[in-house]
Subunit: 82 residues, 2 copies
């Protein structure tokens, strides 16, 4: 079995209204040392793949096909055998 | 300046309907090697803190006060100077 952790965040060029909203809420709570904050998605998935390369391929495909909006988001991932 | 990456996920005891929905969608797309998947939140924040311990304290406090639902979620974070 393989375990993948997938981190999905907004592309730099894309406005992140949610991040801006969180930042102003934090400033209202007097966390003025918060310079910037962005919110993304974080997936943890277990894969019954036959090999690490199969698991790697599955991770890339499920990101492309479902988990990541390619127009607005980028992603990084970690993959290990468990 | 300090950079923190915060990973928020459901507590194990909490049902994750979103993860279940994603898993069945992936199975309908024939990704049958996906054994399980959970979705959480991923924050990247830059902090103008005076010291690493101040930054660490800010991260813990903003998680407790705003970013994490303590009843249903747990979090981990990484903190480094940039």
């Amino acid at each position: 079995m393989y375990l993948a952790k997938i981190y999905v965040s907004h592309k730099k060029s894309i406005l992140d209204p949610q991040g801006e909203a969180i930042k102003s809420a934090l400033h209202r709570l007097n966390y003025n040392d918060v310079n910037s904050i962005t919110q993304g998605k974080y997936f943890i998935t277990k894969l019954d793949s036959q090999s690490k390369s199969d698991a790697d391929q599955t991770v890339r495909s499920i990101c492309k096909d479902l988990l990541v909006n390619q127009n607005m988001e980028t992603y990084q991932y970690e993959l290990k055998e468990v």
